[in-house]
């Protein structure tokens, strides 16, 4: 299995551990990723707030770069995934926009013919690799580890091509395949606060608090995420939450880190040491911590 790979800015910065764990899990499962050359920022939510057609053209450059590889394009970050998928759909359905994007790409010596399929690693793991293949690689089942499956928004909304928009289940199934106990978590697709945690902390941090508090109430040892911004918000603001809302703490990890642990990889190789709220104690309490 081979895929084109679009890491996005966060996976090279605050979300480094996501990339580390993703690559390591994919390697174990025999999934090859080919990072596209000289990719640029997808534009996220901010770019669309400033200019419409330029935002689509910006994202389309990545599609144009990926297209010659003739492979599905894996985008692990929720915002990147959504923006690339949205761009693809919008230039297909809106001729006026398509014309502008074409003009932009042409100015950079590029073209995009509409043939890139954008995939999220969750989709790839469940639908291409398959739960059986995942189960087959499990060396240390996550026995007893209670996980709150947190999907966030943009992987499933608004285009969820592979799971339900409000009540997705695929990560639940995947983590169960790794032996985890998935708790019922009604906030699984609620907003983490996005960039409001930084720009409007009185709002953003509160949203993150709701999520963490509910995970705690539901008995979760860890929260599993599949987006670097969700991870950042839930992991990095817990001290602020303690100061402004309530002292409540649940470590947040990437779903790929949990898979990696089940596959027998070390915490370090999965980037777990990069957490601000360490998951080590929670893992140790279920005898899942690794040395180093």
């Amino acid at each position: 299995m081979r895929y084109a790979y679009y890491p996005g800015c966060s996976l090279k910065g605050t979300g480094k551990a996501y990339e580390e764990s993703l690559l390591s899990v994919f390697r174990t499962l025999g999934v090859e990723l080919h990072e596209i050359e000289d990719w640029n920022c997808c534009g996220a939510t901010s770019y669309s707030s400033v200019h419409n057609s330029a935002a689509f053209a910006l994202a389309a450059r990545n599609l144009a770069l990926a297209e010659p590889l003739r492979m599905d394009l894996v985008a692990p970050c929720a915002a990147c995934y959504l923006v690339l998928e949205k761009t693809k759909r919008y230039i297909r359905n809106h001729p006026h926009l398509d014309e502008r994007v074409r003009r932009g790409l042409q100015a950079a010596g590029l073209r995009y013919e509409g043939n890139v399929r954008v995939r999220h690693p969750l989709d790839v793991l469940v639908n291409d690799v398959g739960l059986d293949a995942v189960r087959a690689k499990v060396k240390r089942p996550l026995d007893g580890l209670a996980v709150a499956p947190y999907y966030g928004c943009q992987v499933v909304r608004p285009y969820s091509t592979f799971d339900h928009q409000t009540y997705p289940v695929l990560m639940d199934r995947l983590l169960e395949a790794a032996g985890a106990k998935v708790v019922r978590y009604p906030l699984k697709t609620k907003c983490c606060g996005g960039s409001l945690t930084g720009t409007q902390p009185d709002v953003g941090v509160r949203l993150a608090w709701f999520l963490i508090r509910e995970a705690k109430k539901r008995g979760a040892d860890v929260i599993a995420t599949l987006c670097p911004l969700c991870h950042f918000n839930l992991d990095s603001y817990q001290d602020k939450i303690a100061r402004t809302c309530e002292k409540v703490s649940v470590p947040t990890v990437y779903f790929t880190q949990l898979l990696g642990l089940a596959f027998g990889h070390s915490e370090k190789s999965l980037g777990l040491h990069r957490n601000i709220v360490s998951a080590h104690a929670a893992l140790a309490s279920r005898s899942l911590a690794t040395a180093g």
């Binding site: 339900h164 409000t166 009540y167 009604p186 906030l187 709701f210 509910e214």
Partner: protein
């Protein structure tokens, strides 16, 4: 004046239709252009051609100008073709020397540009003028009408239609799919806005059906095929085995007590799944007929043949017979009333509302049963944990007015939600919240009922609920269901904790409506409800003559409207069968014997089985009474041996040339 009889003398009449046509098409210019066409003797425009003066004008012109062909350019032939044919006939011509042009639906209503619309109108009129010269005189045929009537569906609509027809002295077959008649209404507790008990007003009618000497009631039965034509339908009814002889069972119910299952095992359909029933059961105490039924899906005896069959032993009338087979009955009727009803929306399709996820989320139909004193809880409103709810949320428009599920307003949910609000408050004293988008209380006494509910202290919050969740934020929410909604009149979002949620599910076509439609050969609208012939002027007729509609199979409606429509459908059916004879349109196909090669292509293609193959002569023959004039055979015949009245080659080519050739 003397005129050669074969010389066409055409009168053209262009209608303004008020401003419907004249608002876009310059009708005077169209009439002027038509006046110049070959054969046109008179060409006029008029404000309303369908009015008496308009029709009179045609008659007078026929006499004064010796017209022998008439063209009216106005609205759809569906509306007024008959009107103008009659006017033509009154003027002294054969009514088929008439051609209609649809300037309204085909032109003025669908185009923006007046010049282009006018040009198109001229083209269409020219086509009709060129066509009508080839029209021939045709005669209508008359056939006798069978006096019996079939009513399909035994809900309140079917019951009312059947009783009306039977009281008028007609023999009626009432066919019901379920083991009992009564339909949805039998499951309701009270009815809005008068709060009279549904059973009290329905069950006497059910008994009348059973007792009526003119009604043959077949429950647990399906109509499997309908053939024939208006006045002369042949219907096949399949009577499924209920493993109980209707002629012997008296409804003592001892067999149910004797069943090897000591407790109910199967979710009780009649109680919307709230209770459990046994494999041998009677849907509810007043079921009609009072005959038990064996559910083959759960009865051990039926499934495996191995059971002590204690039920059989218990029956001292030997009414339980496990070797009962399905029966096929063939009947002939003159008219059919379709009253196959509706289904409620499956609220699990909106997972945000938590049906099946949270214990105390119910559908409105379940709550009807819950508040009913003969329901599974004997009228007690209790939560799953046994306690009485202190606050209840009723959510309107579940599966209605929603692009993702059903787009239409289901019309009854507002009012039944108000009724349930009243009943729940009465039964529990709880705080009741109604969450609505708009309250639709347009019936007689409905707005007054809404007033009454407000006075009773029911809370009304204008906002569509986004979500029901057990995610709690405050101590008062703990352990309860939280409704998240914008109070759109106050302008902010609210979280309202409740103990019980009622989903006011909408009405949708029955799951097999498409199948029923095909069996009956009637049409349905986009959403799947059966289509009436005209939304205002033929609300119970269908496009298939002799078949009439009643109740929710045609669209959501409440009980008063359903009964009114059932009465109207019965009257329409009565008018047909009572006349004893019916005229058939002559727009049928006929085989030109000399050209027919006897290949039988047409026989298989005819959707109305109107064509047979005469083995002796080796030719096909069309039964004019069965033929609906669809033209399939005409187009399919490889030898061009089939012609169709009103659609002859010269007529069609004349029309095509008229559109294409700018004269």
């Amino acid at each position: 004046m003397e005129h050669r009889a074969d010389e066409p003398r055409i009168g053209v009449y262009v209608c303004h239709c008020g401003s419907n046509i004249a608002g876009k098409v310059r009708v005077a210019a169209v009439a002027e252009a038509a006046a110049l066409l070959p054969g046109v003797v008179v060409s006029r425009d008029s404000k309303y051609m369908c009015s008496d003066p308009g029709q009179e004008m045609i008659q007078q012109d026929i006499r004064e100008h010796a017209l022998n062909r008439i063209v009216v350019a106005s609205c759809s032939p569906l509306l007024h073709e008959e009107t103008f044919r009659k006017a033509t006939e009154r003027g002294g011509l054969n009514p088929y020397f008439f051609q209609m042009v649809n300037l309204r639906e085909h032109d003025s209503w669908v185009h923006e540009d007046a010049d282009a619309a006018t040009e198109k109108a001229v083209d269409l009129v020219r086509a009709a003028v060129r066509r009508v010269r080839f029209h021939r005189a045709l005669e209508k045929t008359e056939v006798p009408v069978h006096p019996d009537v079939l009513v399909v569906g035994g809900g309140i609509a079917g019951i009312h239609a059947a009783l009306t027809l039977a009281d008028a002295g007609k023999r009626v077959y009432l066919v019901e799919r379920e083991p009992t008649i009564g339909g949805h209404m039998a499951r309701f507790d009270k009815t809005f806005p008068t709060l009279d008990c549904a059973a009290c007003i329905l069950t006497p009618k059910m008994s009348s059906v059973k007792a009526h000497p003119n009604i043959t009631l077949w429950t647990y039965s399906d109509v499997t095929s309908v053939s024939g034509y208006v006045g002369n339908f042949k219907v096949v009814v399949r009577r499924r085995p209920r493993y109980v002889r209707e002629d012997l069972c008296v409804g003592c119910l001892e067999c149910i007590d004797a069943c090897v299952y000591k407790e109910g095992r199967v979710p009780d359909e009649f109680n919307a799944g709230l209770g459990k029933r046994k494999p041998i059961y009677i849907p509810f105490p007043q079921a009609t007929p009072q005959v038990v039924v064996v559910d083959p899906a759960s009865c051990i005896r039926v499934k495996t043949g191995k059971c002590k069959s204690t039920c059989v032993e218990a029956c001292d009338r030997d009414a339980i017979v496990f070797d009962q087979k399905e029966e096929i009955r063939e009947i002939e009727v003159g008219a059919i009333v379709v009253a196959t009803g509706f289904e409620t929306f499956d609220a699990a399709r909106i997972p945000q509302y938590g049906l099946g996820v949270y214990d105390d989320v119910y559908t409105s139909l379940q709550v009807e049963r819950m508040v009913n004193s003969s329901g599974p809880t004997l009228g007690e409103v209790r939560l799953k944990n046994g306690s009485t709810p202190r606050s209840i949320g009723i959510i309107h428009c579940v599966g209605s007015r929603d692009q993702k599920t059903n787009r239409w307003c289901s019309r009854v949910c507002c009012m039944y939600s108000l009724k349930l609000a009243h009943l729940l408050k009465e039964h529990t004293g709880a705080q009741v919240y109604n969450f609505y988008i708009d309250i639709r209380a347009a019936g007689k006494g409905y707005e007054e009922f809404f007033d009454r509910l407000r006075e009773e202290g029911v809370n009304f919050i204008r906002g569509r609920v986004a979500e029901i969740t057990d995610w709690t934020m405050t101590p008062e929410e703990e352990g309860r269901l939280v409704i998240r909604v914008e109070d759109t009149l106050a302008g902010f979002v609210r979280r309202i904790p409740v103990d019980m949620v009622v989903l006011a599910v909408g009405l949708e076509p029955a799951h097999d409506a498409q199948e029923v439609r095909r069996v009956l050969n009637i049409g349905c609208s986009n959403e799947g409800f059966f289509m009436e012939r005209h939304p205002k002027l033929a609300p119970v007729e269908t496009f298939t003559e002799g078949i009439f509609l009643a109740g929710c199979c045609q669209g959501p409606k409440d009980i008063p409207d359903t009964v009114a429509q059932a009465g109207a459908a019965a009257a329409a059916a009565l008018a047909l069968v009572d006349a004893g004879r019916v005229e058939l349109e002559p727009n049928t196909a006929c085989v030109v014997d000399e050209a027919c090669s006897g290949c039988k292509t047409c026989v298989a293609l005819c959707p109305y089985t109107a064509i047979s193959h005469d083995r002796e002569r080796g030719k096909a023959a069309v039964n004019g009474a069965l033929c609906k004039g669809c033209g399939t055979c005409v187009a399919a015949c490889p030898s061009g041996a089939i012609r169709q009245n009103l659609f002859e080659d010269d007529q069609i080519f004349g029309e095509i040339e008229g559109v294409l050739v700018h004269a």
